[in-house]
């Protein structure tokens, strides 16, 4: 039996175990969660000030999509990218530019923005994934700095001043609704892709890479191709989110998308929730939104927000490197509705 067959067999075992674990309870939980998510906007007809809650929810969906995407390379594959906001910027500017020049709505071009980001991820991965460990992390920071310098000086897209996009022309009561559904769909898409990768031969290969790349290579896993594909997959939804997020903000500026803190927050969410797990980034994103909202409301300062991000990241890294979901799972205390691995 060759090594590759051994991998296949392990996979089969694992899949059986997993399929057995999707209990009816988990299924109902998922269905009701989706149902509630899809029906929530109806409340705008009954509740005043619903726009605030829709804003919070759509931001949460956005972060879930971003963190789940980051997790594909940072969690499953074990290659920490501190520069994933680059794809957010690419998506945002791509769709924004088309909107400004041709008038085609970012809602239509968002999937295309995702593909562009994915293609760029593929290209960047081809070059950058030749390095490993700290060298890779540094190269992702270099990617952000390089793109920011370029965008700051690029007149077509407005340089540092950025560009403004027209508002969505609907009554103010409904403005959040299209974005709400847009982000919800992206979150579902990213989580579903992440789940499918986690339970595929591809995902198993990625996990082997994150454990020991040399051994994975020896076992017959095409590590290079897998890593690069994982990087491209992780850029896909980030690009689409960028397209919708830019339209939601109605302005694009390098300072919004391309500061290092944005990239750091993507990492923080996954690490906080538990990187390498399917539900970790979701838990992390929800918690992050809560914490962020608390800090902005009570401290009201973006500087202290940066401090809080740093402190939180350090605490999690030092004391719970497996994150919430990972630590609970190790202790066998994870509620089964969060266990999708």
């Amino acid at each position: 039996m060759t090594a590759h067959n051994a991998v296949n067999v392990t996979l089969q075992h694992e899949q059986d175990a997993i399929l057995g674990r999707v209990t009816p309870g988990k299924k109902w939980f998922l269905v009701s969660l989706l149902l509630v998510s899809f029906l929530t906007p109806v409340l705008i007809f009954f509740v005043n000030g619903m726009n605030y809650y829709l804003h919070m929810l759509l931001t949460t969906f956005m972060y879930i999509a971003l963190a789940s995407s980051w997790n594909m390379i940072g969690g499953f594959t074990g290659y920490t990218s501190l520069g994933h906001n680059v794809f957010l910027a690419i998506g945002g500017y791509f769709s924004g530019l088309i909107f400004a020049e041709l008038g085609i709505s970012p809602f239509i071009t968002a999937p295309l923005a995702g593909l562009i980001a994915g293609a760029l991820g593929l290209a960047f991965g081809l070059i950058s994934l030749r390095t490993r460990g700290p060298a890779f992390i540094i190269s992702t920071i270099a990617m952000v700095l390089l793109l920011k310098l370029t965008f700051d000086r690029w007149d077509l897209i407005g340089g540092t001043g950025g560009m403004s996009l027209p508002f969505l022309k609907v009554p103010s009561m409904y403005t959040k609704v299209p974005f709400y559904y847009g982000m919800l769909l992206l979150a579902i898409g990213a989580v579903y892709l992440s789940y499918r990768i986690r339970h595929s031969k591809f995902g198993l290969g990625l996990r082997a890479i994150s454990q020991d790349e040399v051994k994975a290579e020896v076992a017959g896993i095409p590590t290079n191709r897998y890593k690069i594909l994982a990087f491209a997959a992780s850029a896909l939804f980030v690009g689409s989110v960028g397209a919708r997020y830019g339209y939601y903000l109605t302005y694009l500026r390098p300072n919004i998308f391309l500061t290092v803190i944005v990239g750091a927050q993507l990492v923080l969410m996954s690490v906080l929730g538990g990187k390498g797990t399917v539900s970790g980034p979701i838990v992390g994103a929800v918690l992050f939104i809560g914490i962020n909202e608390f800090f902005v409301a009570s401290l009201g300062s973006s500087e202290l927000n940066i401090v809080a991000t740093g402190v939180l990241l350090a605490i999690v890294l030092l004391f719970f490197p497996a994150g919430i979901v990972g630590s609970l799972k190790e202790a066998d205390r994870l509620p089964s509705i969060f266990d999708w691995d």
Partner: protein, 295 residues
């Protein structure tokens, strides 16, 4: 100005910037050499020294060059504390390299946020008299402030080299850089060597932070630009190599000066990031270093 004179002039400026870059990078390279930690927070902590120097200059008129006697011990102390809090209990497991990068990254965020909170995001700089005057040689000029800073930087780097070469703890640090396991076997106290090296690394950064106040205006977020520059030059020189930091700094500073003259100053920063990218891809071990891959 003739072509030849122009080239010599640009070389002057490049080399006189290179010394300060080398001083900034030497702290980073020592820390990596001993502990295999890529200290992303190096430039952020350097900013702390810059602010101390700035306020000493504004409040009591202390000369920025003299204030290195303040910032060197201060940053040594900060380095020891930082090491004790964040790194002393960390085990060198499979994810050590990655974990430490993320940890220093979070330290950088904390420092940046605190500086921004207390001192706002306005640009600051000191302006001692030598910062605006120059030595003149015929049609050539050499800015005095940069010249002093570079001379001092080279003196400090030489002092570091002598310290590593001729003192007991210096030898322990060098042994740890070469082979931590073997060093431990022959009785080197690795923990002590690490603390001292981390302190020294930041102390050098502190001196550089003081000297840079009158050459490069700064604000809290500026450290990201600096760390990009510093990483590029020590990666070029070879991480962990002191000579590499010096050579890398000179090469890149001179290149950036030429780029700045011929393509405009805004593109000089691109030189560094592009160089960093290319070196990581084609020669990750740099000119004088070992491979950076850490398991």
């Amino acid at each position: 100005m003739t072509d030849m004179a122009l080239i010599i002039q640009l070389l002057f400026i490049g080399v006189s910037l290179g010394g300060v870059y080398a001083l900034m990078g030497s702290g980073l390279t020592i820390v990596f050499g001993v502990m295999r930690i890529v200290n992303i927070a190096h430039a952020a902590l350097m900013m702390v020294a810059s602010y101390v120097t700035y306020f000493a200059y504004i409040r009591i008129g202390m000369d920025p060059i003299l204030s290195i006697f303040l910032t060197i011990p201060l940053m040594y102390f900060v380095g020891v504390i930082t090491y004790k809090v964040f790194f002393s209990r960390l085990s060198k497991g499979i994810r050590y390299g990655e974990l430490t990068v993320l940890l220093t990254f979070s330290i950088a965020l904390i420092v940046e946020g605190l500086l921004g909170y207390f001192f706002t995001n306005t640009y600051r700089s000191t302006s001692p008299t030598y910062s605006t005057s120059a030595f003149l040689f015929g049609e050539l000029f050499l800015p005095k402030g940069q010249f002093y800073a570079t001379i001092l930087s080279i003196v400090l780097i030489a002092a570091l080299w002598a310290f590593l070469r001729y003192t007991r703890i210096g030898n322990a640090i060098r042994a740890t850089m070469q082979n931590p396991t073997a060093a431990q076997v022959v009785g080197v106290n690795i923990e002590k060597a690490s603390v001292v090296a981390f302190g020294i690394g930041l102390a050098l950064g502190g001196a550089a932070g003081s000297l840079s106040t009158y050459m490069f205006p700064f604000y809290p977020g500026k450290h990201w630009e600096w760390i990009g520059i510093l990483l590029s030059l020590i990666v070029l020189g070879g991480m962990g190599s002191l000579l590499g930091a010096l050579v890398g700094a000179m090469l890149l500073a001179v290149t950036a000066t030429f780029v700045s003259h011929y393509f405009g100053p805004t593109w000089s920063a691109v030189t560094f990031f592009l160089a960093l990218f290319l070196i990581l891809l084609f020669r990750p071990e740099g000119l004088f270093g070992k491979k950076m891959e850490v398991k």
